[in-house]
């Protein structure tokens, strides 16, 4: 027996009204609660970080609404269909990536946007989900752990869009998409010998990579290692961000009282560096609370993954959850100076549109897996 006496298997009459409603809507209550808590906290921080503009908060609220609607919609779709659509979504995404490289609209100096008349969006966002979906689809009816041939196919599935996105150039997203694929492969049971081998190769490649890097790229790495050497240039973000977090102390300066943010010392304060605003105003306690909330989301996601009905569900749910954690860690690591500055927003909290929808669609899939499970294991 995989399932002990889970509550899912109790008779309906034992369930509360709320429980029954959630069940009908194909929603996982704990996950939704955590997501709403995070997004809600994000609105509070955003109000402060954005200079107390209500319209900024309102726009973000609308985005959350749209994203929740998308979540609800996706949650209704049985996993079987999600699995069946996976290769087509992947294919469509790849076509759009190529289109973006050829004709894409330029925003902030990089070609990321595709203009479809009514809406403009970044195909890379689709790939965030399409890549793990495709990989999971491929492994669904294969024996696990994957063999060398499967592994080679998987690498092509993952690396092709990674390279295209990196060429846009959007290195941050490319690395995250690559990470989601790699994580999925690891979850699929790739043997530790392979992992160690790849890790060793990567370490060995570093000096060679350094040799081939352009000067400005070397400069970036150097600044990451010693931000104080360039306090007005590339080190400025990190120094100001560390000052913001550090000066928050244990209890923080209080909501709307963060001088680093309000006096505009902290750059990108409502987007990528919003974690620093949180740290300045709510202190260590605030940051740890947020961190716990994130860990709960990831934990619930992994719980859903472990209870996944088939290989596709397990792998995809695991990959989505762990990638979510990677997002959180890369952003917080960047803001605290543990990692180099790459443009990764803090999921659910940072101000921004497309990524919020992508995230929620991912969680919608998780909910679909959780709520469409058949009563008995196959």
């Amino acid at each position: 027996m995989i399932f002990s006496e889970g509550e899912q298997f109790r008779p309906n009459r034992a369930m509360s009204f709320a429980g029954r409603t959630l069940r009908k809507l194909c929603i996982d209550g704990p996950l939704l609660t955590a997501l709403l808590l995070l997004a809600g906290a994000g609105l509070f921080v955003l109000y402060s970080a954005g200079g107390q503009q209500s319209d900024l908060v309102f726009r973000q609220l609308v985005r959350i609404g749209v994203a929740l609607a998308a979540l609800l919609l996706v949650a209704q779709i049985p996993p079987k269909y999600l699995r069946m659509w996976s290769p087509w979504l992947y294919l469509a995404g790849m076509i759009m990536l190529v289109l973006v490289l050829v004709t894409g609209a330029t925003g902030k100096g990089a070609q990321r946007w595709l203009d479809l008349g009514l809406i403009r969006f970044q195909p890379a966002e689709i790939m965030k989900l399409a890549v793990p979906m495709m990989a999971a689809w491929m492994l669904h009816d294969r024996r696990l752990p994957p063999g060398a041939r499967d592994l080679a196919k998987l690498l092509v599935i993952v690396l092709l869009p990674t390279i295209l996105i990196a060429r846009q150039p959007d290195l941050g997203t490319a690395l995250l998409i690559c990470a989601s694929g790699i994580l999925l492969i690891l979850l699929a049971g790739l043997s530790f010998r392979f992992i160690l081998l790849a890790g060793g190769l990567a370490m060995g490649a570093l000096p060679i990579l350094w040799h081939f890097m352009r000067d400005y790229q070397k400069q970036r790495v150097w600044t990451f290692l010693n931000p104080e050497t360039d306090p007005l240039g590339s080190g400025y973000h990190i120094i100001q961000s560390k000052i913001a977090i550090g000066s928050g102390g244990v209890f923080g300066k209080g909501w709307l009282n963060g001088s680093q943010a309000h006096l505009e010392f902290l750059p990108e304060r409502s987007t990528d560096f919003i974690f620093a605003v949180l740290g300045e105003e709510f202190g260590l306690l605030g940051l740890l609370s947020i961190l716990v909330a994130y860990l709960f989301v990831v934990g619930r996601g992994l719980y859903i993954a472990v209870h996944g009905q088939d290989t596709y569900c397990r792998l995809l749910a695991g990959s989505i959850s762990l990638t979510f954690f990677i997002y959180v860690f890369v952003n917080t690591g960047m803001v605290t100076g543990l990692l180099p500055v790459v443009g990764v927003p803090l999921p659910l909290v940072s101000y921004g549109g497309t990524s919020m929808v992508t995230l929620m669609v991912g969680f919608g899939m998780l909910m679909s897996f959780q709520t469409h499970r058949k009563l008995l294991p196959t």
Binding site: E264, E280, L302, L315
Partner: protein, 630 residues
Amino acid sequence: MLRQEPIKDTWAEQRLFNNRVIWALAGMLLLSGLLTNRLIHLQVVEYQRYADLSHGNRVRIQPLAPTRGIIFDRNGVVMAENLPVYQMALIAEQVSDIERTLDRLMELDLIDDEQRERFFRARRGKRSFEAVPLRYRLNDEELARFSVHRHEFPGVDIQAALVRSYPLGSSAVHVLGYVGAISEFDLKRIATSRYAATSHIGKTGIERQYEDQLHGEPGNRQLLVNAQGREMDPKGGASEELFRNRKEPVPGSDLILSLDSRLQIAAEKALGDRRGTVVAIDVNNGDILALVSQPGFDPNLFSAGGMSNEEYFALQNNADKPMFDRVLSGTYPPGSIVKPFLALAGLEYHAVTPGQSVLCEGYYSIPGNEHRYRDWKKEGHGITDLHDAIAESCDVYFYMLAMELGIDRIHAMLADFGFGKITGVDLPGEKKGLMPSREWKKGAFSRRSEQIWFPGETVITGIGQGYMLATPLQLTHFTATMATRGKRFKPRLVTAFRDPLSGEITEIPPQELAPVELANDRHWDEIHKAMAAVMNTPRGTGWAAALGGEYKMAGKTGSAQVFSIGQEEEYEEEEIDERLRDHALFIAFTPLENPQIAISVLVENGGSGGRAAGPVVRQVLDAWYREQKQ
């Protein structure tokens, strides 16, 4: 999807997956631990450091300029003060179309092309929220004109500022000096931190000499600023904290001058628009009562940046050199002024006695030499003793006396009075003049044949010509020493400092210098008598100046050659170009018994000392006596 695949072992795969999830959880917890550790490091361990950095980020220290000390004359008349003036400034970010705004201001005649150009220069390097000055010193009428149209000029502001002001205008400008914008050159001699909030600095005169005392100590206040340096409104406790940390500036010390502004103005009026100098000194303490160098200029032009480039260049290049202080920096041959001093040397070294006479035939020749050194009086003065020689300014007498004394003894006596040395007055830029000697000539010339002292050079030293040079200040100082029978005081202008807050006055005692000591003090009386005769006998060269005076004075006329005439030519004043005429000189002291004041007058290219400079002396001393009576 009908490929042949090995049978999936669902149980094994689930176990494998669960296993991997546990690894993933472990990895996650490890990374979260790393992050938590980082957060604790930043927010707990290094909290104080980052809190300080955050504080330093947002609080900027703005220096506050101290108020410059006020300068008073001896009677408490204000000579330099700080007046509020209105200036017009523009804040770029609040103006939608700068060009149009400036056009409109020009239409209203509030700015001109040059100010417009200067605005664009001043704007460089300023942030868009900083006010850039457009126009200094708006007068009431302009202020009113602007106010009427104010609604048309959002972002154009009227600001009040303190500006150095000299209420007496160009009067005493060479004493007071002026303040101007701090230049690169000035930056080298000041501590920049003290001048962080100061825009102007003393350039010449008292303003320069006493810059340290006048300037004061800057204070500071703390501002809350954002990342662009824009001042923000502090909220709640922050404003109180910022206010508490405010440090008020300490105003500069006020100065009280020895100058008597009424006498100064009288002297300026007496000189009129002629180029020249008047210096009056209180002989008993060295206080300078009047110091005039004409022409002058209005120092107010410099203090608020109100002077245009053309005006400045016009001042700089004016042939009459209004910015040149003739009293301290102008060196002139003393001419016959030197005669009483030489006579004193003659008596002291027993080269002559008061009773001894010589025959003056209108010229003098060194024995065995044909060259004739001529007397100003062509037909000669006849039989002349020391008394007559000074009164009538007989050149021949002094040619002979100079030869009798020799240059070494002449140098010894005159150097005692201070010839060839700065007086040490408390003004910058003083020249030391020149008292020639054998020693000096060796150093001054490179060719060996020129390094020898020639007898002919001694002869003309007897009438204050040749190499000899002195400033008008030195001449007055020597006259004062003559008046006090050898007691010498360093000439000075600042007699006291005044604390601007408490009003407490700190007097500076007069500084006595090494006196001129004679073997026989009666020799002073002889010279005083002779100098009195200059003024008080009909044959005296100063008779006309003293005529009808209610008081008695002693004096000496002189004329300094600008241009040498040939052996057989006549010096005809009317025929010579105005600029080549002799400088007219006059020194005097009064009263005869117990002298109080010494004066010197120089009229450039004025010709005869008695005729051109004498009336100026008379007018100034009349004014001085009038004041003494009150």
